[in-house]
């Protein structure tokens, strides 16, 4: 399994042609207490860069974009009752959705962990 990152602070785990998407620990820290996550519909076709989800903190709403294009096959139902999972476990239990990749070449646009860490260190 490979993990990729975007400059919008999302992570993407890829296994075969399935990608799991969430926001990074840095992102949850910036957002603060998360009180609601609006996940996409299962079956939704997302293009790269499309609005995919909305994450709401006490203060503000933030969009989560589709880092790669594909068809949503599963969403994290646990976030409905416990959105704070994104705070406590952003890069594991707090995942947002899974999709079937439509174009694996798009992964080339993303950063690896080392590049993302360097990107965050410069912010």
């Amino acid at each position: 399994m490979s993990r990729y990152f975007t400059d919008e602070h999302e992570w993407v785990d890829v296994e075969g042609d399935t990608a799991t998407v969430g926001i990074t620990d840095y992102a949850q820290e910036q957002l603060g207490d998360i009180v609601f996550v609006e996940t996409p519909e299962v079956g939704a076709e997302l293009g790269q860069g499309d609005d995919a989800a909305v994450v709401e903190s006490v203060k503000a709403a933030s969009d989560v974009y589709a880092a790669v294009s594909g068809t949503v096959v599963e969403v994290n139902e646990a976030l409905e009752d416990e959105p704070a999972l994104v705070n406590s476990s952003a890069e594991e239990d707090g995942w947002f959705f899974r999709l079937t990749l439509s174009d694996t070449d798009e992964l080339g646009d993303l950063m690896d962990e080392k590049a993302y860490k360097a990107f965050v260190a410069d912010l």
Binding site: D33, F36, E56, S57, V58
Partner: protein, 381 residues
């Protein structure tokens, strides 16, 4: 171009103190200000149970001195300022000549002058407007060398009592003896303080005017107390929303009249009868409930917060109102909001629809405050 855009970024007297405590700073009203220290939720709940210290030094502190100051101010506010007793505070509205709301403010009769606290984002425009109204015998002093701290929460009085603060005259009340909307001059050692029992959280507490050079000493002494933690702008906003208190520039502005803003209490009886404040004819034509729209509270069905800018829509999707503040209530653990709705839909319990990002969200008109006020009011005789 407004003053706001040409001004350079200003720093609070406590700027480095905030950063030293790990605050995240954001731009607000031309200042870099602390939005949070440990987190909005924790800071909010701390303030509801203990006491929070807020740096609100961006707000404008203005003194009007001279014979006729109250009468001059009454030309542009609908509050009964000339009847304000010494040591008493009044909430009032700064009105444009057409009655639109230019700002909301607190006015204290100190006995020596009128002490005004106005919003940070509007203070320069407010001061220009005051100056244009004042007769030659009244002078205006913008106290830019004073900071303003708010100590808010059920333990605020117990906390402040631990500092040895004395009234300016020995026979005047100590801070704990002040009731809600009363104020006085005090000394903390050799540092003069102006202390008001007032605030913007719905809780008991104080607002403390202190010479800028002594702010850090006072803030440090207060935060050394077990009851007190520093609280950022984020929690200040969620606290005032729960308290049902409107925020200027969001829940009211120059296009909104006082009755529409649900601020009838700010139109004092004597001034309604005199009807001689700016825009009085237009303002009073709506009194008490003849406006087309009104600011109301909303409970949101479900867990998703609705935000400022979302539209209130009718069954056909036509826009009939707007959300002006919205967020998640840490105390109630559910989303709450303020919105303008048509008067016919303003009754508590009315079900309305808000459309956000193309999605309809069911809401119910709610009484405000959402969380009961906990003021230290003077007992009624």
């Amino acid at each position: 171009m407004s003053d706001e855009q040409t001004e350079t970024l200003k720093k609070l007297p406590l700027d480095s103190w905030h950063r030293g405590l790990g605050a995240r700073m954001v731009l607000f009203a031309g200042y870099e200000m602390p939005v949070q220290y440990e987190g909005v939720m924790a800071e909010h709940l701390w303030t509801r149970e203990n006491a929070g210290l807020f740096d609100v030094s961006h707000m404008g502190q203005v003194q009007l001195v001279g014979e006729g100051a109250a009468e001059a101010l009454e030309a542009i506010v609908p509050g009964n300022i000339s009847a304000l007793g010494v040591g008493k505070i009044r909430y009032t509205l700064l009105l444009a000549q057409d009655g639109g709301i230019l700002d909301d403010l607190m006015v204290t009769n100190t006995g020596r002058n009128l002490y005004l606290v106005v919003n940070g984002a509007t203070k320069h425009d407010d001061i220009a407007y005051f100056k244009a109204q004042l007769p030659s015998g009244v002078t205006l002093d913008h106290a830019e060398d004073s900071a303003l701290l708010a100590l808010q929460g059920p333990k605020a009085a117990a906390a402040l009592a631990k500092l040895e603060i004395s009234p300016l005259q020995p026979d005047w009340p100590v801070p704990a003896d002040l009731y809600f909307m009363e104020a006085g001059p005090f000394m903390w050692g050799d540092i003069p303080l102006g202390i008001s029992r007032s605030g913007y959280t719905g809780e008991d507490g104080y607002e403390i005017s202190v010479p800028a050079e002594h702010t850090e000493k006072l803030a440090t002494a207060l935060c050394a107390l077990d009851e007190v933690k520093p609280i950022g702008l984020g929690a200040r906003d969620s606290l005032r929303l729960e308290a049902g208190l409107p925020l200027y520039g969001h829940d009211m502005d120059t296009d909104i009249l006082p009755v529409e803003a649900n601020l009838n209490f700010a139109l004092s009886k004597a001034r309604r009868e005199e009807a001689n404040f700016a825009g009085a004819e237009r303002v009073l034509a709506q009194y008490p409930s003849k406006a087309d729209k009104k600011r109301v509270g909303l409970f949101v069905n479900g867990r998703q917060p609705i935000r400022e800018g979302a539209n209130v829509v009718d069954a056909d999707g036509n826009i009939i109102g707007a959300v002006t503040s919205g967020g998640f209530s840490p105390t109630l653990q559910k989303p709450i909001a303020m919105a303008y709705v048509p008067m016919a839909l303003a009754e508590t319990g009315t079900e309305i629809i808000v459309e956000q990002r193309g999605k309809p969200i069911a809401c119910t008109v709610a009484d405000m405050p959402f969380v009961p006020h906990n003021y230290h009011r003077k007992p009624k005789l």
